[in-house]
């Protein structure tokens, strides 16, 4: 029989895992709501941020800088090409912008390394660099095919996943790395010990949810993003720049994933495959909430973490099967609930 200690341990650790899945789910929902893209590579953004942090901690130039530079230059080239008839200035501007971004991508890490920056700054830079990759990806891989089906976008993000994983394997090798926690030490609740880093994860998740909620419901740009999700053409006609909304969504989403990555890196170690499975579970948690809203994504993520904890305890060999099978009745219940609410009407 499970004692109170056991339940407490399972609960606390399930909650911490759940918070990670929820953080990732937030980003996935955000990107999906605005662009209708289900981002398979979402977990890899988290991994990339964690890897960048590893390099920064060792005072080395992260491979992410090269990726940023490549993305920036490609974008600049495309923008310059499309502006080719508008005069030298119009061509020069995107080129210079691209070069500036690429240069920053190299200069900032080196600067931080030189001044032996504290962990918080390293983490912030890692998040910033990976967040900047988001809009690049949108510009280069999503914008050229604005009316493709959801499945096509899935395959495109799958390609991105292969690229990011392959790059990570090449740049940081197949072994696991470790990073120092942002907050060391731990807190004891009875027999259960919970590290301060885990508490940080929980706290930041709650903060981010609140911030997203406020941002999307109470600011104009947030509402504009929501409008794009509800009706692209309508939003376009209202003067909302749909393409730039997509870039912002990807930037924000990638940033959220990056935050998740740098937060959990000290807890679970960093290796090139860490992103996919947590991204998948984040996606599952987000979809349980119907891919509709942020609070639902949080609940979904925490539920998955909880199920995982419980089933790992009951049968560790079959735990994944049980967790995933349990989702099916939940989805059926959700569908029935939504159906009772409304009847599909022609007019």
């Amino acid at each position: 029989m499970a004692s109170l200690d056991t339940l407490l341990f399972l609960g606390v650790d399930g909650l911490t895992s759940g918070a990670v899945y929820a953080l990732l789910g937030l980003g996935i929902v955000l990107i999906y709501l605005v662009t209708r893209v289900i981002n398979i590579a979402h977990g890899d953004f988290a991994m990339l941020a964690a890897m960048t942090l590893v390099s920064l901690e060792h005072g080395q130039l992260p491979g992410t800088s090269y990726l940023l530079a490549a993305g920036a230059l490609l974008w600049g080239a495309l923008a310059a090409w499309s502006a080719r008839r508008h005069g030298a200035l119009a061509i020069a501007r995107p080129c210079l912008g691209a070069l500036a971004v690429a240069a920053l991508g190299f200069a900032l890490p080196l600067a931080l390394a030189a001044m032996q920056a504290p962990a918080v700054l390293n983490a912030a830079l890692a998040v910033l660099m990976v967040a900047a990759l988001g809009p690049m990806f949108h510009r280069l891989a999503i914008e050229p095919i604005p009316r493709a089906s959801v499945l096509v976008y899935i395959i495109v993000t799958l390609g991105m996943h292969l690229i990011l994983q392959g790059l990570a394997l090449q740049l940081w090798g197949p072994q696991a790395h470790s990073v120092a926690p942002l907050l060391s030490g731990s807190l004891a609740i009875g027999v259960v010990v919970i590290s301060h880093q885990s508490l940080l994860v929980l706290g930041i998740t709650v903060l981010l949810v609140a911030a997203l909620y406020a941002g999307f419901n109470h600011t104009l740009s947030g509402k504009a993003l929501r409008a794009c999700a509800v009706n692209r053409t309508g939003a376009d006609l209202c003067g909302i720049e749909v393409a730039s909304a997509g870039r912002r969504a990807f930037g924000l989403g990638a940033g959220l994933a990056a935050v998740a990555g740098v937060l959990i890196a000290p807890l679970v170690g960093v290796h090139y495959e860490m992103g996919f499975l947590i991204g998948l579970k984040g996606f599952v948690g987000a979809t349980l909430g119907g891919l509709l809203s942020y609070p639902a994504a949080i609940v979904g993520g925490v539920l998955i973490g909880g199920f995982e904890s419980a089933f790992s305890y009951l049968s560790s060999a079959y735990r994944d099967a049980l967790v995933f099978l349990l989702i099916i009745p939940i989805l059926l219940l959700q569908t029935a609930r939504l159906k009772r609410r409304g009847v599909a009407h022609e007019h």
Partner: protein, 396 residues
Amino acid sequence: MNPFKRLLTAALMCTAVQATAWAQTPNKPTLVIGVVASASGPAAALGLPEKKAVELVEEMARARTDLPFTPKFVYLDDGSDPTRAVNAVRKLAGEDGAAVVICCTTTPASMAVLDTVKAAGVLNISMASAATVVEPVAERFWTFKTPMTDRMQIAFTLERLKKSGAKRVAYFGLEDAYGEAGWNEFRKLAPEYGLQIVGNERFSRADTNFTPQALRIRQAGADAVYLHAIPPSSVLANQALLRVGVDRPVFHSAGAANAGFLAMAKGSLDGAYVVSGALQVHEQLAPTHPLKAPLQRFVEAYARKFPGEAADLFAGQGWDAGHLALSALSGAVKAVPAGAPLPTLRAAARDQMERIRGHAGANGIFNFSKDDHLGLDDVGLVMLRVEGGRFKLLED
């Protein structure tokens, strides 16, 4: 784009290069050694060091003058997928005309190619850990392997576990082929050492939460825990055990015997035992140890070619496989008349492989025979203990 045309062109190019090589050195034939390693996918942590070590062997071979042939290494990646491994071996044996094949990193892939190497009649040196790759020997005529089997490592470990006075042991391992092979051996051997198995908990390589399983082990009241995994999971699992209050000795498999384990543990796992190949602590070996000198040479050569990286047990597999392939082929070239067709050469290489005795490699001293395609005893095995964040060799 027509993929077949590209493939055809590439294949023609390869054949052309080979033909010119033949033409240029009629006395010294160029022989192809095909290498299939998992350079990507879940087994990349094992496959990449293996591939690098073979590249090191290739570089050293080119500098040698005593080889009766010019070796040409061809590398393919199976992406940790047994299907790709089969096609890769087919390509090496068919298209590339390999005289010897080194495949593969994982047990499933090595098992998948058994029929292919048999049909092609080519010697295969596997780098996979399970004993079933070379047993039963009668059905594994063409396959040999370099790594110590799980069985030997686990027997070695259980011996010491028993000596420490433990009666009840829990198994805590990966759920993939590596972990499963470990469990199968553990399950069979534990009773032989008078140990009772009180738990069998599993996790996957990408898991982040090990607490539930650790709680179960605590509940089961084990005297000792055997952890069969590789970093990062082996580190995190061990930390989870400590966190829930399991203060019993923890014995790791050889998968944890590398610098990555120590780097991740950062001093939190002092007191853990790790079974290892002697390679890991070669500088702590007594000067009279038969493996000390060969291991030192390997480690130094590896460090020279790959600065900043330390040779680990996985690299050792590649090193041994490469050198054994060269030895087998050397013997074969000398044994068959010049200009003999490839099948004859392949068969001769296989026979020569079986005759290799006293080959000091990174895994130990190989003595192959008709009945033993592994050829190792446990002279290459050591028990380590983590102390002060480093591995310390235990004498016994």
